[in-house]
Each structure stands twice: as structure tokens, then as C-alpha cells.
């Protein structure tokens, strides 16, 4: 009898604590420990901090990362939020195309995009610059990808999908009745949007803003390709230096500490902003969602969507396709320049491509499933205040995102190469590192979903005698199914293209495509690089589409077609 009435969520809580200890706390603790450790003797020291902040160059890189993160988050929001609104709430045409292009954008790894953008907007010979010169007769083109602005553009192109997806799922949950109320009271479309719709989606937008900021400062691949030739360093390229021969792991650990402080602050800020207002907008499946008629403006919106997706998807993919099938991409387009030799090489002469492809998707899928299970459980426990100190769990779940993949990998490496838990050398260390790295996305998404869910629905279950777990299974799960499918994709895709942690944790038997791609990027062989990139993109797209089909829900086009 007593067992029946015991709230079993306590066990889940204990389990979660254990998992988070392994995934987040232990690697971070090892990292913190290392930052105070003398490289040779292992004694306590503050020297690492002196070394990490003792040079103007090092501080400048930190500052550059902050500027980069903020600029990317702002631009990503400007790109993503209007598109989300247009797709979710208006009668803009060609929504399927726009959504497919955004999905494609999300699948393209940012380092592949960066290479493509070097070809598009390189100062001397970028195709866009050449086009400009040809059209205007000017001496040189206006674009220079090798600049902070260039790097911001490239990274924003590949992080705005966060803003889009977060905002769109929030918008999809707001019923038109609220907007109708505003219209009834005399507000126009714009005013309704600004005063009703936008504030309701604010938590989602803020969540995306933070995710974009953190993603931007944690990236390694795109800055290595663009910032170095542009002559500036960011935090991640600086960290790379600390791992050079002879490696200074301890200094790197010290160098990555302030970023944890920034995350904690941002997270606190987000909660402060949200805490002041009540945001429960979803009350079951009721409520009608009607499209706003834009009239002539719908073409303007479509133009904007196509402009952004051209920057992020259509133009870069055109360049990648050209190179993947070119004998020599420097020769440009032309029938005599087309070959299948590159694809043949990567698929047949290089057997590692096939193994790496399999690893990429198996690891990514497993990591996404684990992260989502964790994220949802934590978000639920935190919001329903089932246990004391739930807030601490939330902080722990959000923490990994600010740790650059390289540093996370080093933390994992330090923690799991020695007994009791030896993972290095196998697949699990990659899977768990990916899980940890993208846990914040899973959590932030689950958090936004649960936040919008009125607890009264579950209370109804409990009043009728059902337990907490039954409520989760029969009410929470089904209501959030769609959001969760999206969240899975949001973790799966970045896990398939994750580079910065993989590059330190893979071994001979566990290579993934991102590592292969990155190794190619400094080899001067863009044809092969593009072929591997193309394989990654094509398979991911196929899997994601198959996933939608199998799930029986057309995640892409639901409601937009009606």
C-alpha cells in the first residue's frame, strides 16, 4: 500500500543526479581542478591563471568571442524570428520551401558553410564580388569574408535556425483568440504582433538568443577557417594554442573558467525576465490558430525568407555541389569540368568514409535520445517543483553549452581515461560527450514546452487518482509530442556535425564525418571536402525526412498547408 502511494519521481530524481554527475559535474570538476594544478608537479598553484590572463593577446581573444557571440545572437534573431512568424502565423506562400531550406541550413555544418562562404565572399575572387565587379565595373567587390563581420554572418547563418524553431514552436501554441481579443479592441496587425504575440513568445526568443550566443563562442571550425586568415583570435582558437606542443592543459582550463560565469549569469538573467510575468498560454488542445492575411506584404515576407535562406543554404550548397562534382573547382562551371571521381574516391578508395558515416549517425541518434530523455525529465521536475533544489539541476543541465567542445572533450578525457570509469577508446565517450554538449538544447526546448503547459491538466489526472508518471505518460507526453519530435531533431542534427569535442575524443575505430571533413579543410583539397560534406548533408536530410514519415506526423508542413 505504501509503495503505491509513494511518489516515484523521487527515484527518477536520484537517477538524474547520478547521470548528471557523470556527464557534467565530474568532467567540469576535473577541469576546475586542473586549472589550479601545476603542470609538472600537480601541486596547487595560481600560475595557470596568471599565464592565461597575463597577455593582452589572450584577453583580446576573450573580448572577440564576446563580441562575436552577441553579434551572432542579434543577427540570428533578426534572421530567424520574422521567418518563424511568417511561417507559423501568416498566409505567406511557399512555406514548405522556406521550411525545407531552414532545415537544410541546420544540417549544413558551419565549417562547411564557412568554406563555401570563402568562395562566395573572398575579397579577391569571391563569386559575389566577381558578380559585383561584372555588374558595376568597379575595381573590386565590397565583400570581405575575412573579417569579424564575415565571421558573424557565417555563424549567424548557421545558428538562426535555433531562433526560428524555438520561436515557431512557441507561436504554434498561442491560440488566435488572444490576437482576436487585441483586434476586437482595435489593434492592427502590427500592434497585435508587437503587443500580444511577441511578448508571449519572449521566453522562446530569449532561450534561442542565449543558445545562439553560446553556440557562437563555442565554435571552433568556422573561426579556424575565417578568423585566423582575418588576423584575429577567438577563445576557441586560443584554446587550440594551449594544446599545442608542449600542451598546457592546465592553462587552457584556467582560460575557460570565466565563460562558465557568463553562462550562469545569462541563465539567471533569462529566468529573471521570465519570472516577472505569467506565460501559461497553452491550455490543452483548445483554441483556434488562424492565419493572418498579409495581402501584398506576403511577397515581401517571402522575399525576406528567401534572402536569408539564400545566404545560409542555396548559395553555399551551390558552391559545394559545384566543387563535389568538379575535376578542379578553380575552373568554375562547365561540362568538361564534371566528374564523379571525387565521390568515387571518398566512397571506395577511402573505406574510412563508410565507417565514419555509420558512426556519425549512430552516435548522433543515441546521443539525441539520451539528451532528450534527460532534458525532459529535468525540465518537468524543475517546473512542477517536485523536489527541493530542482533549480540546481537546471543550472547543471545548461552549463555544458558554454564549455567549448574542445574543453568539454578535455574534461571528459581527464575524467574517463582512468579507472573507475574508462571510456576513452570506445564509442561511448563520443556519445556521452555529444549528449552532454547538446543537453542544453534538449533542456531549453523541453523547458519551453513544459513552461507553456498548464499544470491543471496533470492535476486533473491526479485528482482522478492517477499518479505522476501516468500523468506524464498520458497527458504531458502526447501534448508535447510534436515539440519533442522537433527537439530530437534539434539535438540529432548538431550531434551529426559536431566537431570540436569529437576531434579530441575519437580514436581509430570511432571516427566521425566531421573529423574527416575538418582534416580535409587544411589540405587544399576542396573537391574531396565537398564530396564528404555532400554525403553528410544528403544522408542527414534523408534520415530526418524518413523520421518525420515514420513518426506519422508531418512535422514540416503540419498546419502550414491548411
Amino acid at each position: 500500500m505504501r509503495w503505491r502511494h509513494l511518489d516515484k519521481s523521487l527515484f527518477v530524481w536520484v537517477l538524474l543526479i547520478g547521470v548528471l554527475l557523470v556527464l557534467v559535474v565530474n568532467p567540469l570538476a576535473r577541469l576546475l581542478w586542473a586549472s589550479f594544478e601545476h603542470g609538472a608537479t600537480g601541486a596547487f598553484t595560481l600560475e595557470n591563471y596568471a599565464a592565461a590572463y597575463g597577455r593582452w593577446r589572450y584577453l583580446e581573444a576573450l573580448w572577440n568571442s564576446l563580441v562575436l557571440g552577441l553579434a551572432v545572437a542579434v543577427l540570428g534573431t533578426v534572421f530567424g524570428v520574422p521567418m518563424a512568424w511568417a511561417v507559423s502565423r501568416t498566409d505567406m506562400p511557399a512555406k514548405g520551401l522556406v521550411w525545407a531550406a531552414i532545415l537544410g541550413t541546420f544540417i549544413v555544418p558551419s565549417y562547411l558553410g564557412a568554406v563555401a562562404w570563402i568562395l562566395l565572399a573572398g575579397p579577391n575572387a569571391g563569386w559575389l564580388n566577381r558578380l559585383y565587379v561584372w555588374l558595376t565595373g568597379a575595381a573590386s567587390g565590397p565583400l570581405n569574408i575575412y573579417s569579424m563581420a564575415g565571421l558573424v554572418l557565417v555563424i549567424a547563418c548557421y545558428s538562426f535556425p535555433y531562433a526560428f524553431v524555438f520561436t515557431r514552436s512557441a507561436l504554434d501554441l498561442i491560440s488566435s483568440e488572444m490576437e482576436d481579443a487585441a483586434s476586437t479592441l482595435g489593434a492592427g496587425t502590427l500592434r497585435t504582433m508587437l503587443r500580444v504575440t511577441l511578448p508571449l513568445t519572449l521566453p522562446a526568443i530569449l532561450g534561442a538568443f542565449i543558445v545562439e550566443f553560446l553556440e557562437a563562442i563555442a565554435l571552433f571550425g568556422a573561426p579556424a577557417l575565417i578568423a585566423l586568415p582575418a588576423r584575429f583570435q577567438v577563445m576557441t582558437t586560443m584554446l587550440w594554442q594551449f594544446f599545442e606542443f608542449p600542451p598546457k592543459v592546465q592553462v587552457a582550463a584556467a582560460y575557460s573558467m570565466p565563460l562558465l560565469a557568463i553562462t550562469v549569469f545569462l541563465f539567471w538573467l533569462q529566468r529573471r525576465i521570465i519570472a516577472r510575468k505569467g506565460y501559461v498560454a497553452l491550455t490543452g488542445k483548445g483554441g483556434e490558430r488562424r492565419q493572418i492575411r498579409l495581402g501584398g506584404w506576403r511577397w515581401v515576407m517571402l522575399g525576406y525568407c528567401l534572402f536569408v535562406t539564400s545566404l545560409s543554404f542555396f548559395l553555399p550548397m551551390l558552391v559545394v555541389l559545384q566543387a563535389a562534382f568538379a575535376k578542379a573547382w578553380g575552373r568554375g562551371f562547365g561540362l568538361d569540368n564534371i566528374t564523379l571521381e571525387n565521390l568515387r574516391f571518398v566512397l571506395i578508395d577511402q573505406p574510412i568514409t563508410r565507417a565514419a558515416t555509420l558512426h556519425t549517425f549512430v552516435y548522433g541518434g543515441t546521443a539525441a535520445a539520451i539528451a532528450l530523455g534527460l532534458g525532459l525529465s529535468i525540465a518537468y521536475i524543475v517546473h512542477r517543483r517536485l523536489v527541493p533544489l530542482g533549480g540546481a539541476l537546471a543550472y547543471i543541465a545548461m552549463a555544458p553549452f558554454v564549455i567549448p567542445g574542445i574543453v568539454l572533450a578535455i574534461g571528459f578525457y581527464a575524467a574517463y581515461t582512468t579507472p573507475p570509469l574508462v571510456l576513452y577508446g570506445g564509442a561511448w565517450i563520443l556519445i556521452l560527450a555529444f549528449t552532454t554538449r547538446f543537453l542544453p538544447i534538449a533542456y531549453a526546448n523541453s523547458d519551453a514546452a513544459i513552461r507553456s503547459l498548464n499544470p491543471e491538466l496533470e492535476d486533473a489526472v491526479r485528482i482522478l487518482g492517477g499518479g505522476r508518471l501516468l500523468a506524464m505518460r498520458r497527458v504531458v507526453g502526447p501534448l508535447l509530442k510534436r515539440g519533442l519530435a522537433g527537439a530530437f531533431i534539434l539535438v540529432f542534427i548538431p550531434a551529426t556535425r559536431e566537431l570540436s569535442s569529437a576531434i579530441f575524443l575519437y580514436t581509430t575505430g570511432t571516427q566521425v564525418l566531421s573529423v574527416l571533413l575538418f582534416d580535409k579543410s587544411d589540405e587544399g583539397n576542396f573537391e574531396i571536402l565537398s564530396s564528404i560534406g555532400l554525403i553528410l548533408v544528403v544522408i542527414t536530410v534523408a534520415l530526418v525526412l524518413a523520421g518525420f514519415r515514420l513518426a506519422g506526423r508531418d512535422f514540416m508542413l503540419k498546419r502550414t498547408a491548411s
Partner: protein
């Protein structure tokens, strides 16, 4: 031109004496049998690009069926990092290591990561390269290449192309010059050490005025030239010529003041999971078969019987310069710092 003087007569004599038949070395069958039991070996290499590494591995598997060759190709620094991680964790992954930063070998030797092996095929090694071998037999030279001047032929005519290293300082190349980074690439590190030795650090202060594009690997310069992002570069012979073979508009200049000769060693790890396969592989790297594959990939041969393909000069015809091991080992960490101070990254 000491190498030219030494190499040419030797090569000719040997060719006449032995003809062109493949050489099996003494004890090959026994080593092969022992290696077959180990089934596979893993090779960390920074010596060439992936295509060449793949071709070398394929050739090894064909010559010695039953042994699988797994390569991991990275830049020198990354190869060392990976190995250091493995060693620290007590994990035996790699059996063979091929770095381009000779400083790494001094460190690995000191840390006791390598085991000695004197390949029977050492007699096949070009004499001039023998001085690059470790006296204790811990590593031997197995790859050679050049750092030289490269350019895009669609924008620079052969007459206008730089002839020597100081020509790169000409203001007409401002914003059109590409180089790699000594913090990533062993080739670039050695080049920077040599330029400092020849012209003093002033060379790089002047180079900075031309605002070069700085990539990571020396192979990055090939990408830059192909994209016409840069017109001229301090680049590698092998990848540039390979790219030219594919039809890209690039060409090389052998600088009159000397191309930098890169001779890169290979060593066998003490904790090698496949020690016999590793020894067999080291023999193979020196063999005629392997070097014939390498010259097809535009790598320079280290085997005295193998001549380069048309279009590339043999090392014997080129004026080459290079710093000593000691200068490289001490110099690369120094120039990395200087480089960062001068170029800001």
C-alpha cells in the same frame, strides 16, 4: 648544391648496377608471417595529404595481403596531440608515427615512447637523407618534400612570378600572398625557422606589410591559390603539383635562394599493438614500390631508385636549404611566439 652533387652520380650508378627490379629485403618472409598474425596496424601521419596516405596504405595491403593498414592523417601538431593523449591514458592505438615536426621526435625519444628498429631497406634510402636518421635507430627518414614559391597561373605570368623568397616582400603582392601557420604545420614551422636564419626576423616584419593570408596547414595555400584568393604563396611542392595535375591553374617556382627541404622521419611506438606489422610497414615506406606510388602523388622519393614524374624536378636538380635538427627543435617554439607577435594570431 651538396645534395645534387652527391645524389646524381650515386643514383646513376645504382640504376646501372641493379636495374629496376623490386628488392625484397633480408628476413622479409619471416617478418611478414609475424605481421600477418597482428592483422592490422594504425599509422598516425602528417607526411602527406589523405589521398597519398590512402594510396600508400592501399599499396601496402596489396603487397602484403592479410594486414590491414589504417591511417589517420592530420597536421603534425594534431598527430602529436593525439599520441600524447593516448600515451597519457595508457592506450596503445598507433603502431607507427610520422610527424613533420622533427622537434616531436626529440621529445618522443626523451619520453621513451619509441622503440628502435633499423630497417633492412636503409640501403635503399638516398644517402643525403641518412643524416636525418636517429643514431639510436628510433626513427628513420621516410618522406621528403619542398617548401617553395607557388602561384596561380591565370593571374600571374611565369615572368612576373617571384623568383626568390625576398621577391615575396614586393609591395605588388600586397593582399595577394598566402602562407600557413607555424602553430599548426611542421612544414611552415621549418620554413619560418629557415627564413629567420637566412634573412633575420626582419623578413617577417616586412612580409607583414604585405598583409599575407594566414591559413593553418601549408596545404591551405593551395586552396587559396585555386580560389584566386591569393596569387602567390609559400607552399608545398607535392600538393600544389598534384592539384596542377588535376587541371587547376597553379605552378611552382624553385627559388633561386633555395627551396626548403623537408625530410620527415617515421618511428615505431614502444607500445605498438602491432610491432611486426609496424616494422614491415617501415620497410615498405623505404621500398621502391611505395616510393613509386609517392611520386605519382607528387611526393618526392626517398628511395634512390625512384625518379620523379615529368614536370617536377628531382631533388638532385634543385637548390635546397634547410635548418639543422637542433635549429628546428629549438627554433619552432621560438618562431611560433615571434610569429604571433608580428602577425597577431
Amino acid at each position: 648544391m651538396p645534395i645534387a652533387r652527391v645524389l646524381l652520380p650515386v643514383a646513376v650508378t645504382v640504376l646501372l648496377a641493379f636495374g629496376a627490379h623490386a628488392h625484397a629485403f633480408e628476413g622479409e618472409p619471416a617478418l611478414y608471417e609475424a605481421a600477418k598474425k597482428e592483422k592490422a596496424l594504425t599509422w598516425y601521419t602528417a607526411h602527406y595529404n589523405s589521398e597519398t596516405a590512402a594510396a600508400v596504405c592501399n599499396g601496402f595491403e596489396k603487397k602484403y595481403p592479410g594486414i590491414k593498414c589504417n591511417y589517420i592523417r592530420t597536421t603534425a601538431q594534431v598527430a602529436y596531440q593525439r599520441l600524447a593523449q593516448d600515451q597519457k591514458a595508457g592506450i596503445a592505438q598507433a603502431s607507427v608515427i610520422s610527424s613533420t615536426d622533427v622537434g616531436h621526435y626529440g621529445r618522443m625519444k626523451q619520453d621513451g615512447w619509441l622503440q628502435p628498429y633499423r630497417p633492412k631497406n636503409l640501403s635503399e634510402l638516398i644517402d643525403a637523407f641518412k643524416s636525418f636518421n636517429d643514431p639510436d635507430g628510433l626513427y628513420v627518414a621516410t618522406a621528403a618534400g619542398l617548401v617553395l614559391i607557388t602561384y596561380n597561373t591565370s593571374v600571374v605570368s611565369p615572368a612576373d612570378a617571384p623568383k626568390n623568397w625576398t621577391d615575396l616582400l614586393d609591395p605588388k603582392w600586397k593582399g595577394k600572398l598566402s602562407i600557413g601557420h607555424p602553430g599548426f604545420s611542421g612544414y611552415v614551422g621549418t620554413w619560418v625557422v629557415q627564413m629567420r636564419k637566412s634573412y633575420g626576423w626582419d623578413f617577417f616584419k616586412k612580409l607583414e606589410l604585405n598583409k599575407p593570408r594566414i591559413g593553418r596547414s601549408i596545404n591551405d595555400t593551395v586552396t587559396m591559390l585555386n580560389a584566386k584568393q591569393s596569387w602567390v604563396a609559400a607552399g608545398p611542392s607535392a600538393t600544389t603539383l598534384e592539384s596542377k595535375d588535376k587541371g587547376n591553374p597553379v605552378a611552382v617556382v624553385y627559388p633561386t635562394d633555395g627551396a626548403i627541404l623537408m625530410v620527415s622521419p617515421t618511428g615505431i611506438l614502444k607500445n605498438a599493438p602491432a610491432p611486426n606489422a609496424a616494422k614491415l610497414f617501415e620497410e615498405y615506406l623505404l621500398s621502391k614500390d611505395c616510393n613509386e606510388i609517392m611520386v605519382k602523388m607528387r611526393q618526392d622519393s626517398v628511395n634512390r631508385h625512384v625518379q620523379p614524374l615529368p614536370g617536377a624536378k628531382s631533388l638532385a636538380e634543385v637548390k635546397t636549404i634547410r635548418p639543422t635538427y637542433d635549429e628546428v627543435e629549438k627554433g619552432i617554439p621560438e618562431v611560433k611566439e615571434l610569429f604571433r607577435d608580428t602577425f597577431g594570431i
